[in-house]
């Protein structure tokens, strides 16, 4: 399969990248790992005349904790995140999701920035980031701005990023004491699969280790974007952690889901599976939180 022709730019800084993006507008596409973009180009779905490679831009790398936040560089690969010892407590949700993406070969190239900007409803790194209440950091000709991720995802493949903007980082809150995460992905295969349904759950336990102080549940593949399940959250906060609360949260999450029937599965089956996966992800998060 051949790639269409394009000019390749390798800016050395964010400022240079913005110049190129500004110059070529919607004729330009950003390429990091290329594991989604190049597939679409080979399938003739996209044919940008200019590709902007991010390899030379060091400031887009790295994981840094400061000021009560963890700043995630958009060029970090799924592999790097999956194996990161710095993503503990609730932040482990990102490592867990990243570890289920594609295959080892894909994970060694696919980046978190690419996953967020490609914004598919079942994206394995988007779900955990949503559950972690992440913020997207954008740089553009008008300056820098911050956007909560739930305002960033607008539809399948659609984000609030303007063509001239570059995602320069993701911010997640530093994991609280007594927090833990779970991630469940259901597919027809165990690898190289887009989820039929996936769920990310983050729990923070109270000082007594029994009551749920905070909870977030994110659902994938059951709406036009990854979504939070506010009903599930309401069924958890202030309750005693355990099977009863998780069962109720599962039912509430299934009600929060808006699945459709497609070639991967029926809406009814997806709704059923949201309930099951939510319970499992919550159990996993509870185990992890008790260990913290």
């Amino acid at each position: 399969m051949l790639l269409p022709r394009f000019a390749f730019h390798q800016p050395a800084s964010v400022a240079e990248a913005l110049e190129v993006l500004g110059q070529y507008g919607d004729q330009a596409a950003v390429i990091a790992g290329g594991t989604d973009l190049l597939v679409n180009m080979k399938h003739k779905k996209l044919a940008p005349k200019h590709l902007v490679g991010l390899e030379r831009i060091e400031e887009l790398e790295g994981l840094a904790a400061d000021n009560g936040h963890i700043r995630i560089g958009p060029r970090l690969t799924a592999s790097a995140l999956a194996g990161s010892g710095e993503l503990t407590g609730s932040a482990a949700a990102l490592a867990l999701g990243a570890g289920t993406l594609g295959s080892p070969q894909v994970r060694n190239r696919a980046t978190v920035g690419g996953n967020v900007c490609t914004a598919r409803p079942a994206a394995d790194m988007c779900l955990p980031l949503l559950a972690l209440e992440a913020k997207a950091l954008l740089a553009g000709p008008a300056g820098a701005r911050e956007l909560p991720l739930d305002e960033f995802f607008l539809g399948p493949g659609q984000t609030a990023r303007e063509p001239g903007e570059l995602l320069t980082g993701l911010l997640i809150p530093k994991p609280a004491q007594g927090s833990g995460a779970g991630y469940e992905k259901l597919g027809l295969r165990k690898a190289l699969e887009i989820a039929l349904v996936n769920v990310a759950a983050v729990l923070t336990l109270d000082g007594d280790g029994k009551t749920i102080k905070a909870a977030k549940v994110a659902l994938g593949a059951v709406a036009p974007t990854p979504i939070l399940a506010p009903g599930a959250e309401a069924a958890l906060v202030g309750r005693a952690a355990g099977e009863e609360a998780f069962a109720q949260a599962g039912k509430a999450a299934a009600a929060d889901a808006k699945p459709i029937t497609d070639h991967r599965g029926s809406a009814e089956f997806r709704r059923e599976m949201v309930e099951v996966l939510t319970r499992r992800a919550l159990r996993q998060a509870w185990q992890a939180a008790q260990g913290q």
């Binding site: 022709r5 394009f6 000019a7 790992g33 590709l51 295959s103 080892p104 060694n108």
Partner: protein, 158 residues
């Protein structure tokens, strides 16, 4: 579309290439360097037959632009044996009947090599996880997994 001059470091050797930006690493290796051990199967990152190691890590070379691979250490299947002496993984694959048509084998061997260099004593599940990006239509995977386990043992004793 202009061609650019790049240097690709493959199996320890530097190669000067004049190449268009829309050429993938898989195409460059096979067509410019005539290293045809790397295969083009699905060409969209779903089968792993194009697997090469980039700085020791397995990637699908069909989804890496040749120009992006500059400055990286590329290892292809041609770089695994030591002259005529097969790598323990290659020997084990032959002994265990883990090669039928051979199309998936270069990718399997490279993924396994990367695994054993990071984890010298993997369990079956870990081997299957490490090979989960390499599809085989012939063998049913069992013999490949056994070959990798066997190679791990031999490499550990070496």
């Amino acid at each position: 579309m202009e061609k650019t001059q790049i240097v690709l470091t493959v199996n320890g050797k530097d190669y000067d290439l004049l190449i268009a930006p829309n050429r993938t690493l898989a195409q460059a290796l096979r067509e410019e360097l005539e290293l045809t051990g790397t295969k083009q199967g699905c060409e969209v990152g779903d089968c792993g037959s194009c697997t090469v190691l980039l700085d020791g890590e397995p990637v699908n070379s069909c989804l890496v632009l040749a120009v992006q691979a500059q400055g990286r250490e590329i290892t292809t299947i041609e770089g695994v044996a030591d002259g005529n002496k097969l790598h323990p993984i290659q020997e084990a694959m032959v002994e265990h009947g883990a090669i039928q048509c051979g199309f998936c084998s270069p990718g399997m061997i490279l993924s396994a090599k990367s695994l054993l260099e990071k984890n010298p004593n993997p369990g079956q599940d870990e081997i299957r996880q490490a090979l989960s990006g390499n599809l085989c239509r012939c063998t049913g995977y069992q013999k490949i997994v056994e070959a990798v386990q066997d190679a791990a043992g031999k490499m550990g004793r070496g």
